[in-house]
């Protein structure tokens, strides 16, 4: 088992000595299946199935089926034919192009699960009715959505059937997908959101990261595990899982077997949390912000944080955004932890060889975090959406910014609002309402906030609220580019998480054993429970 996990940390020497591309029809067949899905979807042959799966609502994925399988199908068929009939020689081109088959295999599973399997399970669950007094359907309670099912499908494939040989190389693309998704997430935050979430995350992460590292070191000393083992486990349990483990290993001179134990513990704990957190979140009725804050603090590894956040909110990205801010804040603490461990280790081990801490931080710091910050900086210049956008929506009450003259309030609507304006007490809301009546549209972003506050306060009649809601919608526009980024991010994470499932082997999880698993379990459970309590007490429903 040690040998199996060693491959997690052993890097190749370069210089391929084998041909990776398999002369196999699999990729071509995958392409044909994708094109068939697109064809049946586009010609209306799946309409009956859509209606059945939507269970009385509108089927959400028809738009995706009309595009994604067409492009990926053509790509798979063309490359598949070349892989099947072409001649292949070892080298860079062979190595990288051979990953396409595995990548498309993951993508096809993600498509089938997201578009057909998860909606079918939901339809069956709805047909079974709500569960007892909970008022919720069983698929909601258990979090049975495309994210969870995608990961479970990956787990089953790798542990029961084994990954096909032609797909093995490409399955290793999943982490690249997750990292690309995290970097692109940077485009979705506005400065206001980041300021609100950033302050909260710094306080929580600061407390829990330092607390977890300290607790592992203390427990490690009491249970008499080697300092190198305690050091590397504390970084893994405290900061961000595998990356932190690898970064901390040189400063505490951890042995391969200790790194393997730590990664095994993190995987075991992380996978458990990924499935358990959304169920607990649903039972407690946590808001997206609360759950994101909890997952980003309590779950150890970046990939599993994303998995839990998307499992909690599969058709939206708000939870993922909150969770990733917490996760990235945690990664930013990594240099401090490496420095702390270096000093701690040298003090405790007199014979310890001094290492260049600055060099270790520079070499091991996860660069994709810098990419996230770069993308956020690019986004704040307003090139993807107006810089003042909030959650992808921006204010605009002129024709140039997307306002339609047909949305101006009619004389009757103005009279209806004027008749009830006496009910409004707050000066700012009264003034905003006055300007709305005078101009027939909301005049500024502050007025929009005041009108929304007035709607929520419910001081006016239902009809008046309906008119004000219409006025609010008329000046709030969705940024098309932000919408496109959301789509990309959703698919990159879906791809990454199905692939992640295919990399979680029972053998790798069994690696956690003895003292590391006991200490990891105590610290992980303490962190998860305490962070849940803090989130429920301190984190507001909305940010």
């Amino acid at each position: 088992m040690i040998l199996e996990l060693r491959s997690y940390i052993q890097k190749g020497k370069g210089g391929s000595k084998m041909v990776y591309t398999k002369k196999h029809p699999a990729l071509f067949i995958i392409g044909v299946i994708m094109l068939a899905i697109w064809f049946f979807g586009s010609t209306g042959m799946l309409d009956g199935l859509y209606e059945h799966m939507a269970a009385g609502k509108k089927y959400k994925y028809a738009g995706e089926i009309a595009n994604i399988p067409l492009y990926s199908g053509i790509l798979s068929v063309v490359i598949g034919l070349w892989q099947w009939f072409g001649t292949h020689k070892e080298g860079h081109w062979d190595y990288y192009s051979s990953t396409v088959a595995g990548g498309m295999f993951i993508l096809l599973i993600a498509m089938l699960v997201r578009w057909f399997v998860a909606p079918e399970i939901a339809a069956i669950s709805i047909a079974m009715g709500k569960v007892g007094d909970t008022g919720a359907y069983i698929h909601k309670l258990l979090g049975l959505n495309y994210v969870v099912m995608g990961i479970v499908t990956g787990l089953i494939i790798v542990n029961v059937f084994k990954i096909p040989v032609w797909a093995e190389n490409g399955v290793r693309l999943s982490r690249l997908g997750l990292k690309t998704g995290v970097i692109l997430l940077g485009t979705l935050y506005s400065a206001a959101e980041l300021v609100n979430l950033g302050g909260l995350s710094i306080v929580m992460i600061g407390f829990f990261v330092l607390g977890s590292v300290g607790m592992v070191l203390w427990l490690g000393a009491r249970r008499k595990i080697p300092n190198s083992m305690g050091g590397v486990l504390s970084a893994g349990m405290g900061v961000c899982g595998v990356s932190a483990t690898v970064a901390a290993a040189p400063v505490v001179q951890a042995k391969s077997v200790e790194i393997a134990y730590t990664i095994g513990t993190i995987l075991l704990w992380g996978v458990g949390c990924m499935f358990l957190f959304p169920i607990i979140g649903n039972m407690l009725g946590m808001s997206h912000v609360q759950f994101g804050a909890w997952a980003g603090t309590g779950i150890l590894n970046s990939a599993q944080v994303a998995g839990a956040a998307l499992a909690y909110q599969p058709d939206g990205i708000e939870t993922l955004k909150v969770a990733e801010i917490f996760n990235i804040t945690r990664v930013l603490v990594l240099p401090i932890i490496v420095l702390w461990l270096a000093v701690w280790y040298v003090k405790r081990e007199q014979s310890a060889e001094r290492v260049n801490v600055g060099r270790v931080i520079f070499d091991k710091f996860p660069m994709f975090v810098i990419g996230f910050i770069l993308m956020f900086a690019l986004s704040t210049t307003g090139i993807f959406a107006p810089a003042n956008h909030y959650k992808g929506k921006f204010f605009g009450n002129t024709a140039e910014s997307g306002f339609k003259e047909s949305n101006l309030l009619s004389a009757d609507q103005k009279d209806a609002l004027r008749a009830e304006s006496g009910k409004v007490q707050r000066e700012d809301r009264k003034a905003a309402l006055g300007r709305l009546i005078d101009n027939g549209k909301i005049m500024s972003i502050d007025d929009d906030d005041a009108i929304r506050g007035l709607i929520n306060a419910k001081v006016m009649s239902k009809d008046a609220n309906k008119i004000m809601k219409g006025a609010h919608k008329a000046v709030r526009h969705t940024a098309k580019k932000i919408k496109a980024f959301r789509q990309w991010i959703t698919w990159l994470f879906a791809f990454g998480l199905v692939g992640l499932g295919m990399q979680i082997t029972v053998g790798a999880m069994k690696q956690a054993g003895g003292q590391p698993a006991v200490i990891g379990g105590i610290v992980g459970a303490t962190k998860a429970i305490l962070s849940l309590v803090v989130v429920l007490m301190l984190v507001a429903d909305r940010v």
Partner: protein, 45 residues
């Protein structure tokens, strides 16, 4: 895992989790992919 399988690793390049030789290379490739997607969205959406 047997000794034979260790002696003949499945991949001569990268690691069990990644096709790239180091995390730094994978991060840079992720950044390039993200920038390509961002430019695509900027110009075509």
């Amino acid at each position: 895992m047997s000794k034979e399988s260790e002696a003949q690793p499945r991949f001569h390049r990268g690691s069990a989790l990644s096709i790239f030789g180091s995390d730094r290379k994978e991060d840079l490739m992720a950044l390039i992919c993200a920038l390509l997607i961002a430019f695509g969205v900027y110009f075509f959406v």
